[in-house]
Symmetry: C2
């Protein structure tokens, strides 16, 4: 019998996108769906950069170098300078989103069967990338009770086995909004150095830090330059998710050489996106200041609304634009689908991401949902009205 | 010791790109390098489509649906109609180039360790995609003596083992320029059906057929709709390699469902590229007619020049824009690097792709090079002057 592959059958579906067809059906019935499921900001992309793409003199939409357009790689260090990071163009490989960067790094650094420690809950697609690359995620649990702070170094040490080759963090964290401070990151850097492991850090939400803690990049740690690999992207900071432009940054030359071989296999990152990305490097700081102000308002609103709901557990996220809330429900997958299939109030409903997909141990996410605060405060308020009502009705059943 | 992965050490480098740094060094010394190594056409991208991108009203460069922008998927069937193919939007998944399509299809259809039969020489990156997906390429040799025509069905049958799950063809073929006729393709379709295998066909050079043989797509074979998966791309036909827009086309619903899960993991294909791609669907036929005329001229010139060189074996390619020629050399890797490092005439040299990378058995490509005729006839003539002189000097050493 002709059949699909076993791994294809088993691949973890994206919790963020898997309910799309139920949302489409709800919309077809005329219901307004507030999308809080996906990290697609409603913030405008900087206009000047879009205009650069639109005014570019392009005769042939040609392949670009596999490691990225060199003028873009030469411009990017100016961006990192803002964070007091000294990054050289040769330390950057442009990728099609951070997603591609993570996947290719798994291939370049890890053998099949190797383990990566990932604090859970974690960005759901890490599961899929690990499956694609045939590496194993070793989860280490964080708790909503302390806002999903990282476990202690001793907790990390306890799960290191001979096949553990890396720790993967997302900082600021998707889906929890937790931001890791310098001290914590330096201890983890020491740990990976001691154990000859890599420290992979997904920093695509770098700009989105709302508390006193300044963002600290692991690229600033001199002692572990060989161990550290950072994933970056223009998707979130410039509201440019569709450009598909990310980057891998590392000082490890052997890793860079290996990554380039993989990058060559997929030929190049998109031309238009890289023109946009290059123009975005010179986005005035005021753009991000306004964006941040906007998100702080949304976060505060969301926190206030959720805190006021009965039996909802939440915390004030310090960064990114997500909150992982615990609801009075027993099955978040069922609840999120029910919101789209069977619920509406004033002809409106919401789409959330069930948290089960953000855990390796899916049971841990049964009562939690990820809420992306990517809508303006008016819509966010309406969305919270929906959630509040929905919880009452759902629990009456 | 911190180290890269074993697979990273072993991954097949792209023969098309691996000499890039030698080319850069030659250029830095002031030598003009004729690029015949890479399938990057010098033909202009249709202007009207670039203008559509440039005039698009884009406020947010947002994620697109994982299976592709729906207006583009709805437009594509109009393109396939020109080939009398009835393709439905739901049978299409937009990918970031055909490369991504092939890799994701390997994951979706093949288990680790499964075999894919590929006539060799074959597009070098198939090796890399197979390694990334942990599947094995089972090569089946074609010969320059009959213009790299496909082996017989019996030859294919002979290499089928219990773990052989697919045949992968490129039609028209890169790197040989061979075009497979309807009869041959139907026999192969029968063979895969009989053996419960997939037939993967990379049809990105569909437009580039120069002889009486009409292009025949395996999508037209009604009996094997479940078995057939076609990879497509706008890169070659519209000179849009940098847009990174390809597609997977299949009628197999289970494969489509599985592919969508993988497509969701990498979120989406590029937004700008898909706007371009959608506009390209309505490119007037005259564009391709002119392109074809141009390539026929180049091919004829290249064939004439190569045939006139001493001890060079070649054949008239029927399609695509490559020729795999046999030269009086013993080590094509050495020769191609030497061309860039140590040779120039009138301050000019050429970059070719050593054929070793296009074979599973690298020894078979030691005397062959792939020449992409992607330059105009004037430059092509100059490039052939270089090659002719280079062969004399190289063999005097």
């Amino acid at each position: 019998m002709l059949s699909i592959s076993q791994r294809g059958k088993e691949v973890s579906p994206s919790p963020i996108r898997k309910l799309v067809r139920f949302a489409d059906e709800a919309k077809a019935k005329g219901t307004k769906v507030f999308h809080l499921n996906i990290g697609q900001p409603d913030i405008l992309t900087p206009k000047a950069a879009i205009e650069k793409v639109q005014n570019a003199d392009i005769q042939i939409v040609a392949y670009t170098p596999s490691n990225g357009v060199s003028s873009y790689r030469n411009a990017l260090p100016r961006y990192y300078k803002k964070y007091n990071l000294n990054v050289k163009p040769d330390e950057i490989i442009v990728t099609s989103g951070a997603s591609e960067g993570i996947f290719l790094t798994f291939l370049a650094c890890l053998n099949e069967g190797d383990e990566v420690i990932v604090p859970e809950p974690f960005y759901a697609n890490y599961n899929g990338f690990a499956e694609m690359a045939n590496v194993r995620i070793k989860p280490i649990e964080c708790s909503i009770d302390n806002g999903f702070a990282l476990p202690t170094i001793q907790d990390f040490e306890k799960v290191i086995s001979p096949t553990t080759k890396a720790i993967l963090l997302c900082n600021p964290n998707n889906p929890t909004g937790c931001v890791y401070d310098e001290k914590t990151l330096r201890s983890l850097a020491d740990l990976v150095k001691k154990n000859n492991m890599y420290l992979f850090v997904d920093e695509v939400y770098r700009e989105f830090c709302y508390e006193e803690i300044d963002f600290f990049s692991v690229l600033a740690i001199a002692e572990t330059q060989e161990n550290v690999i950072v994933f970056d992207s223009i998707s979130k900071r410039y509201s440019s998710c569709g450009a598909r432009v990310g980057a891998i940054v590392t000082r490890n030359k052997l890793v860079l050489e290996t990554l380039i071989k993989y990058a060559e296999l997929r030929l190049s990152s998109p031309t238009f996106g890289q023109i946009l990305a290059e123009a975005l490097v010179d986005t005035p700081d005021s753009y991000m200041e306004n964006v941040k102000k906007e998100y702080i308002g949304r976060r505060n609103l969301l926190y206030k609304r959720l805190s006021a709901m009965e039996n909802v557990k939440c915390y004030l996220p310090q960064g990114a634009f997500y909150i992982l809330a615990e609801l009075p429900i027993k099955d978040s997958d069922h609840f999120c689908q029910w919101l789209l299939e069977s619920f509406s109030t004033d002809n409106q409903t919401i789409m959330l991401a069930p948290a089960t997909g953000f855990y390796s141990n899916r049971a841990l996410g049964k009562r939690q949902v990820r809420i992306a605060y990517v809508l303006n405060e008016t819509d966010l308020n309406k969305a919270m009205d929906c959630l509040e009502k929905a919880l009452v009705i759902y629990n009456e059943k």
